[in-house]
């Protein structure tokens, strides 16, 4: 089972990568995904998360094949 993790904008600069591939054995929460791929970095307070392009809370479940995205507050318009 594998999930894709994406980072955008200043968060991408901060983690130093645009994404990760993560192999999991069972569904994880979004927070657990973050902790697996960034074990040495606390999750930023203002971070936003999306699963399959929908906004979710950190408790949302992530399953095989899902895309998880982490990014800072949006600043379009």
């Amino acid at each position: 089972m594998s999930i894709k993790v994406l980072y955008f904008a200043s968060l991408k600069d901060r983690v130093g990568r645009s994404g990760d591939e993560l192999n999991i054995e069972a569904p994880l929460s979004v927070l657990e995904v973050w902790q697996r791929v960034n074990p040495n970095m606390n999750i930023p307070d203002t971070l936003l998360a999306a699963v399959n392009m929908e906004y979710v809370g950190l408790e949302a479940e992530v399953n095989d094949g899902d895309d998880v995205a982490f990014f800072p507050p949006v600043t379009g318009g």
Partner: protein, 151 residues
């Protein structure tokens, strides 16, 4: 509803003329068009800005924009909506965003165009990275709330 992400300079007045010209079915039905055009300034937070990069999350951006417009269509009686947002490298005085709403009555046009802009600002996954006159590069941290009056 038409939603476009645009990697090149676009002319909002030309886009409006083209869109309305093709929307023959609306002719005579709309009494009100509410429009907002966002343009890149050459200053931000007290600093002169030379250029800007607009990053976005391909796929999610379109999905969120479509949802915002659908929400507006659910709340107000709208005949059509045009939404164009720039992406990529932009310069001062470039148009960043165009929102236009056609409706029979002006209250709906005003309310819906503003709703779409505020939700776009808070929900659509775009991020601005500014290059200052000094050469310094910085990410814009947060959008302001457009319903609050400026000091």
């Amino acid at each position: 509803m038409t939603i476009k992400l645009c990697a090149e300079i676009f002319d909002p007045w030309q886009e409006l003329a083209d869109f309305q010209g093709q929307a023959a079915g609306m002719a005579g039905k709309y009494g009100a068009t509410g429009i907002f055009v966002g343009t890149m300034r050459d200053f931000n937070q007290g600093d002169e800005v030379r250029g800007m990069h607009l990053e976005h999350y391909p796929g999610m951006t379109e999905k969120q924009l479509q949802r915002i417009v659908e929400q507006a269509q659910g709340q107000w009686q709208l005949l059509d909506v045009l939404l164009i947002h720039r992406i990529g490298q932009v310069s001062p005085n470039d148009t960043l965003v165009l929102v236009a709403v056609w409706s029979a009555h002006r209250g709906d046009a005003f309310d819906a165009s503003r709703f779409i802009m505020e939700n776009l600002k808070s929900q659509a996954p775009f991020w601005k990275r500014e290059t200052l006159e000094s050469g310094q590069i910085r990410w814009v941290k947060k959008n302001s709330n457009g319903y609050l009056k400026q000091p």
